[in-house]
């Protein structure tokens, strides 16, 4: 398309300073400081990598740079001129674009239609389909992608769709292109094609921001790398002058936060054992959870930890291996079987898996135990009220009443419902999948105190977290997952942060 043809000249810039500069850029949400004041300058035509753990503030930074969310304070300076950047359209008009991990295109349209979406070639109001396919094909051939422009997008692999999304972003006069973990679903060959494209864009003067977990990609591709930790920009390094050990050290929070106070209890008999358990997304997982013990599962998102617990819990089918409950082999076919044994699950996504948002707090809290509140045919209204009120009181859930809709509560209080609906019902194993994502520090501390109370009652806890300090400080035993496999296991603080992160990333 035209922008691509004239790109080299159009992007040659008379302005000599950094193309984009952040001055004290800051983002606060209620109760959390998602990005602490950050100063950073992106040079024109560089590939700038950004690394950090989950929740370190990377996605907040992307949202600020693409105008998706407004900043709380600070300045964004584009080619020396302070800019609002408060809407996505403003970002696109400046030439700032992003390619996301998940493809956001129309799967039912052709490749060409997707590339030209919102910018169609027309003649007298009618689409020039063939011309667009020809032009799209020329762009794809030009980029060295061996892909048909006339094919329907959904017939392509996710990786190929990712390349199309990149091509689309690259052909619109883009001067500043952000990649958010673009290789997460790509094969090696597709990743190589993507890298070639990124280098070509760099040669044309486009500034690239590249966000990734994969160290080897950063060393292969990037000129400079910035590290985020707990919402703070902790350092920027020239890639040629740094090592992965230094970057990992920067990524980890060395100051142990006061919020983790771990109480240690005597470990009793095993509650749950899995032996060589395999299923969709996980393979050959063997671990044991004892009474009074927290077992942590650490890994990057998509490492197979949630899939594993969903297998144990009966949500997903287990294809091989054995589950033992208090020493007895058991078959768990559905969630109810697991609950009846004494398992409780607080799932990863409270919106999608945890809550009935447009129903009452009380109904949500009582959902797993309505059978116990039933007298004969009907539910005992007084017991239903009592059970809900007790949970609200015990967990200090801030809600107008038990009848308020779950969606009217704050994130932290919603999370308390997801966790709270299982308490006081005598469960012996609690599975917490990312229990503190998106909750403020105060609620975090309350949740950790709750862990202690559960352990004191003789329960075991299986804790999944992508936030290393959390599992590191709390888990009596820590299993590291990567690519659906259990790649390492450590006792309480028996390995260094560096070693664990290295195992999880697979450097």
């Amino acid at each position: 398309m035209s922008a691509a043809a004239e790109a080299p000249s159009a992007r040659r810039d008379s302005f000599a300073g950094p193309i984009l500069e952040l001055r004290g850029l800051e983002k606060r949400y209620v109760g959390t400081h998602a990005l602490k004041p950050a100063d950073l300058a992106f040079e024109a035509g560089e590939i700038h990598a950004i690394v950090g753990e989950n929740g370190a503030g990377k996605s907040t930074l992307i949202k600020l740079l693409t105008g998706v969310t407004p900043r709380t304070a600070g300045e964004i300076v584009w080619k020396g001129v302070p800019t609002d950047l408060s809407t996505p359209n403003e970002a696109i008009a400046l030439g700032i674009n992003a390619v996301h991990q998940e493809v956001v295109l129309c799967p039912h349209l052709t490749v060409a239609a997707n590339i030209f979406l919102g910018d169609e070639r027309t003649a007298r109001g009618l689409l020039k389909d063939r011309a667009m396919v020809r032009e799209a094909q020329r762009i794809l051939d030009d980029l060295g992608f061996n892909l048909p422009a006339g094919a329907v997008l959904s017939t392509l692999t996710i990786g190929q769709q990712q390349l199309i999304a990149t091509a689309r972003a690259a052909t619109r006069g883009t001067q500043f292109l952000i990649f958010d973990e673009p290789t997460a679903y790509l094969t090696r060959q597709e990743a190589a094609q993507l890298f070639a494209l990124i280098r070509r864009l760099k040669a044309q003067g486009v500034t690239i921001v590249y966000i990734s977990h994969r160290m080897e990609e950063i060393f292969e591709l990037a000129d400079r790398v910035s590290v985020l930790r707990d919402g703070m920009l902790v350092g920027t390094r020239v890639v040629a002058e740094t090592t992965d050990a230094e970057l990992i050290a920067l990524m980890i929070n060395r100051s142990i936060e006061q919020i983790y106070h771990k109480e240690t209890f005597a470990h009793g008999a095993p509650v749950l054992e899995t032996r060589h358990l395999s299923g969709r997304g996980f393979e050959d997982v063997s671990l044991t959870v004892r009474e009074g013990e927290i077992v942590g599962l650490y890994g990057l998102i998509g490492a197979g930890r949630s899939e594993f617990v969903m297998g144990v819990y009966g949500r997903e089918r287990v294809t091989a291996g054995e589950v033992l409950w208090r020493g007895q082999p058991v078959t768990i076919r559905r969630e109810r079987d697991a609950i009846d044994l004494g398992m409780a699950l607080a799932p990863e996504s409270r919106r999608d898996q945890g809550l009935c948002l447009n129903l009452g707090v009380g109904l949500n809290l009582n959902l797993p135990v309505f059978d116990r509140l039933t007298r004969g045919v009907t539910i005992s209204a007084s017991e239903e009220r009592k059970a809900a009120d007790k949970q609200i009181r015990d967990l200090r859930i801030k809600t107008a009443s038990r009848n308020a809709l779950a969606l009217s509560l704050s994130g932290g209080n919603q999370q308390k419902i997801v966790i709270g609906k299982w308490l006081n019902h005598g469960a012996k194993l609690f599975i917490f999948d990312e229990p503190t994502v998106g909750v403020d520090v105060g609620t975090k501390a309350e949740i950790y105190r709750l862990f202690g109370a559960l352990l004191a009652k003789g329960a075991g806890i299986l804790l999944i977290s992508s936030y290393l300090p959390e599992v590191y400080e709390l888990a009596d035993r820590l299993h590291v997952f990567r690519g659906g496999r259990q790649v390492a296991s450590h006792g309480f603080k028996a390995a260094s942060h560096e070693q664990i992160l290295t195992e999880a990333i697979g450097v």
Binding site: R315, C356, L359, L363, L367, A381
Partner: protein, 343 residues
């Protein structure tokens, strides 16, 4: 709309609104009654009122069954077709099988009238069982085959009429059993029998939806099936129950229709499914699921029946009733949307 005084667990905002909407609907109904009694001399007569009760009863039961499905965020387009198919089935059973059963029972020593009654009940129960089977088929399509509720019930909607027409060869089966046809004209304690059926259906429906845990599960499945599943709710069974109940309600209506018209005919009850959905929506049921009650669709159905009845009595061009129904649907659903946004 989940609430009544007896269900302590429904949301407060919803509680207040549902009361308000409930009162509004009762108010609308009362206002229409007073207006029609004032404007016409024919409305407030025992004959007309019991006629109105009979008309409303048919739609009330269809709408009630429909509401269970809508609460799960589904839809049942087949209820009219099921009702008309059941008129054929029950009519054919009564004409061809019931006399044999009666004769056998008389042979076994029962008096003629009791034997006839027992035989009728067997035919009716068999028809309702068939209704349950149709509902189970819908449930199978939705739960096991993963078909959208709209599609599977649309398929039944057209196919069942075909089956009914094949069975009757396109003609009408006349029911000659006077006890059966007399039922719809009869009264009990001064209340038309067909209206009594509404009460007989609504009471267990109320217990199911508002007082039992299965009702709570129905709302949970309509709100977020994954959250319900992970909380140990058997989502498939709960969903299946809704479709089976809807079809059983439609089958009950089929039996009522056969009694009222004295015929089994596969071309009856055309468009009843939309009437039932309209009654349910007017009664406050949300097509997005998780919001609905037992008395909402009942009130909605009687409001629609009163509009029709009143329009006839006042010699309003009967086509107007369709327009009034349309306006009412928009007004009620818009008011419902306003409430949500304000929250």
């Amino acid at each position: 709309m989940t609430d009544t005084a007896a269900t302590g667990d429904a949301p407060r905002t919803k509680f207040e609104f549902s009361r308000l909407l409930g009162l509004t609907l009762v108010g609308v109904l009362l206002a229409m009654f007073l207006f029609l009694a004032w404007k016409t001399s024919t409305f407030a007569t025992p004959g007309n009122l019991s006629n109105l009760a009979r008309q409303g009863a048919i739609f009330a039961i269809l709408a009630l069954g429909q509401t269970f499905v809508i609460i799960t965020a589904g839809i049942d387009l087949s209820v009219g077709a099921v009702a008309s198919f059941i008129t054929v089935v029950v009519a054919m059973l009564i004409q061809s099988v019931a006399p044999d059963v009666t004769a056998w029972l008389v042979g076994a020593g029962l008096p003629e009238s009791i034997a006839n009654g027992v035989a009728l009940w067997i035919m009716i129960l068999a028809s309702l069982l068939l209704g349950a089977g149709i509902g189970a088929f819908h449930a199978f399509g939705v739960v096991k085959m993963g078909l959208p509720p709209f599609i599977i019930t649309l398929a039944t909607f057209t196919a069942l009429r075909g089956v009914g027409l094949l069975m009757t060869n396109g003609s009408t089966v006349n029911v000659t059993n006077d006890v059966f046809t007399g039922f719809s004209r009869g009264e009990f304690l001064g209340i038309p029998n067909l209206f009594m059926v509404v009460i007989v259906v609504a009471v267990p429906a109320f217990v199911y939806l508002h007082l039992s845990r299965w009702g709570r599960y129905l709302y949970a499945v309509g709100s977020n099936p994954e959250a319900a599943r992970l909380s140990g709710v058997n989502v498939n069974a709960v969903t299946a129950t809704a479709y089976i109940l809807s079809s059983v309600c439609a089958a009950i209506v089929g039996v009522m229709l056969a009694s009222r018209t004295g015929t089994g005919n596969a071309t009856q009850a055309i468009g009843f499914e939309l009437e039932a959905i309209a009654a349910s929506v007017i009664g406050g049921t949300s097509l997005f699921g998780a919001i609905g009650s037992v008395w909402g669709p009942l009130l909605g159905a009687f409001i629609l029946a009163t509009i029709r009845n009143g329009a006839n009595l006042m010699n309003v061009n009967s086509f107007w009733q369709f327009i009034i129904t349309g306006v009412l649907i928009i007004a009620i659903v818009y008011a419902d949307g306003l409430r949500r946004r304000r929250r």
